[in-house]
């Protein structure tokens, strides 16, 4: 009897410790999601209204050229950004893992971009990429008269400039996380591989990388959320331009939420984003949890 009571009170303690977080999730996340869902089904403008219009906002959303272009841009950006960040981050981590000189300094240099606000660094990128006073102009003044690098004002290339700038910012973080993973790998594995005469690159690809899977998965989730949230870099670098060429969904939503006083359409946009994220992340998380359960079962 006494043991059971003790058990119960212990459970009570852990539950009460969890309570604030549980409430936050319920009210702040789920509650607002439901509220957005409700608003997206109404004809709300500046203020939420109770007049339901069915899926009219969604219909309008998918007849809107700018929204469709935003989704396309986000897909292109997402694939490139995640792939390049992972690759560069991993290579940087491997490089640092070679016990290079001044490791601390290098680590700081690579991680530094992530510590700075993109609103500021985005402006610097904008200046650098501006053909009139940036890299192009500098190289032309140095003598390469024909050098052209005007992607930021090019309809078709502008998204790549955003990829470049954000990769510069985020790959340091990937490096730091993967490096932590690399440092956790047992020295014995390296020794065994050396005795067997396996080339270093092969050890990295076939042995170390699979062992890093949990870190890689975490990095992926982090980068993925960064893609969906993409907003500040676009605003500070191109403001969605030239024209609408670098528009992204988050900017569309923000524009309609405030300046254009159409919270219904903005909510519809955010619901679509949320569904996209769930559709992409849910299978991934499901597979991971199944794999873990299989492992536990042994």
């Amino acid at each position: 009897m006494k043991a059971r009571l003790l058990h119960l009170s212990r459970q009570l303690v852990s539950w009460s410790a969890l309570l604030p977080m549980a409430l936050t999730v319920l009210v702040a996340y789920l509650g607002t999601v439901l509220w957005s869902l409700k608003v997206s089904l109404t004809n709300s403008r500046t203020f939420p209204s109770d007049e339901y219009v069915g899926l009219a906002q969604y219909e309008r959303l998918f007849n809107n050229d700018r929204w469709l272009l935003s989704l396309e841009n986000l897909a292109l950006y997402g694939v490139l950004f995640i792939a390049i960040c992972m690759l560069l981050g991993f290579l940087l981590a491997v490089f640092i893992d070679q016990k290079v000189m001044a490791e601390g300094a290098l680590r700081t240099v690579f991680l530094y971009p992530y510590a700075m606000s993109f609103v500021a660094t985005g402006l610097v990128w904008q200046w650098m990429l501006n053909p009139g006073n940036g890299i192009q102009q500098a190289l032309r003044q140095l003598g390469w008269q024909d050098f052209t690098f005007d992607w930021i004002i090019d309809q078709d290339m502008v998204m790549y400039t955003i990829v470049i700038a954000t990769v510069w910012q985020a790959s340091g973080l990937v490096m730091a996380m993967l490096l932590a993973g690399l440092r956790g790998i047992d020295e014995e594995i390296w020794k065994a591989a050396r005795i067997d005469g396996i080339p270093t690159w092969r050890v990295y690809v076939s042995i170390v990388l699979p062992m890093l899977a949990p870190s890689v998965a975490t990095v992926f989730v982090l980068l993925f959320t960064a893609v969906i949230k993409l907003f500040d870099s676009v605003v500070s670098m191109t403001q969605g331009g030239p024209g609408t060429a670098s528009e992204v969904p988050a900017k569309f939503i923000m524009d309609h939420l405030f300046g254009r006083a159409n919270i219904a359409l903005a909510s519809a946009g955010s619901m679509v984003l949320l569904l996209t994220v769930l559709a992409l992340v849910a299978p991934f998380l499901y597979a991971r949890s199944r794999a873990r359960r299989r492992e536990e079962r042994g």
């Binding site: 501006n130 009139g132 403001q239 024209g243 254009r260 006083a261």
Partner: protein, 408 residues
């Protein structure tokens, strides 16, 4: 300890003093640049002289300032007055019954007698005055650099759209940037408005923007407006995308570019560079004797409150802001023209005088897009126009898209 008590007493004393000094008004506005804050100071000084206490809440960026104002109104902690544009931006809060009207002052001072009809229609909703208009900007002035014109061998100011295109060709041939432009959606919107006013004319303008008439939007006359707008794009330099409007004006000031279509706030940039209208640069309000005067401006609204002191402050603000002397001083600093035509115009510069003369003719007054369209429609229109400017889209598709965007 003694010192602390003393300061405390001092503060309380000051507080009591401030309270006794008259109605306190907290005013939210977005006038933060040099010229703008000099202008808003005219209001605060006049209000203080009239016996009130002005509490300044300046928030950079119009959009930001408006959303703060709306959030505070909903949250039950409204400012005494908040700035909006002369537009439909505040229509929703009027309909929700969240604003006080200032009928008493408006009727006493006869606002309906001196306000331009376009402005009157915006501030008077269902017979009540819900906003105090404070200035009139004209967004579609055509500015030109006299030195660039000289370099290109243009001797006379263009008098028609054809002459303007001819001048642009000459500027191009002379190796100058013909049209200084900043590739941002709102600036493209201004160029479009200028074309609608000058190529389309008053009647088409109202049919498209106010009546949203499908026949007019799909008609040939409107197609010509759109193609003229697109044609202007061919006179813009490659570095235009993303450029700020004042950087485009700087191209005129340095004589690198010939013309710019921009609001009368551009005068401030010329003034900072010590350039004078009529001498270093010219201003064209429009072509021909019937060219419309496009009106854009700012107003202050007065959030609902039952606090007698605050209501007193709101009334005092409304009457001070529209008094003739304050109007002239404010406009001189702001680069706008007064909302009332019955003021002493001798203190205004020649461009503003020219504008005021045109505006006195009622039939030539028009509102900008914001006056007729709600923010949502206006934004959709802007998206279509900026896409058309930057990409090769068939003009028929643009007409169809605009029709769909304005239908809502």
């Amino acid at each position: 300890m003694k010192l602390k008590l003393l300061t405390l007493a001092l503060f309380m004393g000051l507080g009591a003093l401030a309270h006794a000094a008259g109605p306190k008004a907290e005013v939210i506005h977005w006038w933060t640049s040099g010229g703008e804050s000099a202008a808003v100071k005219q209001f605060s000084q006049a209000y203080t002289t009239a016996g009130g206490v002005w509490v300044d809440t300046a928030i950079a960026l119009g959009e930001q300032a408006r959303s703060v104002a709306i959030n505070r109104i909903i949250g039950g902690n409204p400012p005494t007055a908040a700035q909006f544009n002369t537009s439909k931006q505040f229509l929703d809060i009027v309909e929700q019954g969240m604003l006080n009207n200032v009928d008493e002052i408006a009727l006493r001072d006869g606002w309906d007698k001196f306000l331009p009809e376009t402005v009157l229609n915006v501030v008077r909703v269902k017979g009540h005055f819900y906003a105090a208009p404070v200035n009139i900007h004209m967004p579609t002035w055509i500015w030109y650099s006299k030195s660039a014109f000289k370099k290109a061998g243009i001797t006379a100011e263009p008098k028609s759209m054809d002459e303007m295109f001819a001048a642009l060709d000459k500027l191009k041939a002379a190796g100058l940037i013909p049209l200084a432009h900043g590739g941002q959606p709102w600036q493209e919107n201004i160029v479009f408005t200028a074309m609608l006013a000058n190529v389309g004319g008053t009647e088409l303008y109202l049919k498209v923007m106010r009546d949203r008439d499908p026949a007019a939007i799909q008609g040939d006359a409107f197609r010509k407006v759109l193609t003229s707008y697109k044609r202007l794009q061919s006179y813009v330099d490659k570095g235009a995308p993303g450029r700020n409007w004042n950087d485009a004006t700087a191209l005129l000031i340095t004589g690198k570019a010939g013309m710019q279509i921009m609001g009368d706030w551009a005068k401030g940039e010329f003034a900072l560079a010590n350039q004078a209208p009529g001498k270093d640069y010219g201003c064209i309000a429009g072509f021909g004797a019937r060219s419309p005067y496009v009106i854009q401006g700012d107003v202050f609204v007065f959030p609902k409150t039952s606090d007698a002191e605050a209501i007193k402050a709101q009334k005092l603000l409304a009457s001070v802001m529209l008094s003739p002397a304050v109007q002239v001083e404010f406009s001189n600093k702001k680069g706008s023209i007064p909302v009332r035509t019955d003021v002493d115009s001798s203190r205004l510069d020649i461009c503003a005088q020219q504008g005021l003369t045109i505006m006195k003719d009622k039939s030539r007054q028009l509102g900008n897009g914001e006056v007729y369209l709600n923010p949502d429609q206006n934004g959709s229109l802007s998206d279509i126009l900026t896409a058309y400017w930057n990409k090769n889209v068939p003009v028929e598709k643009v007409q169809k898209d605009i029709l769909a965007a304005l239908k809502r």
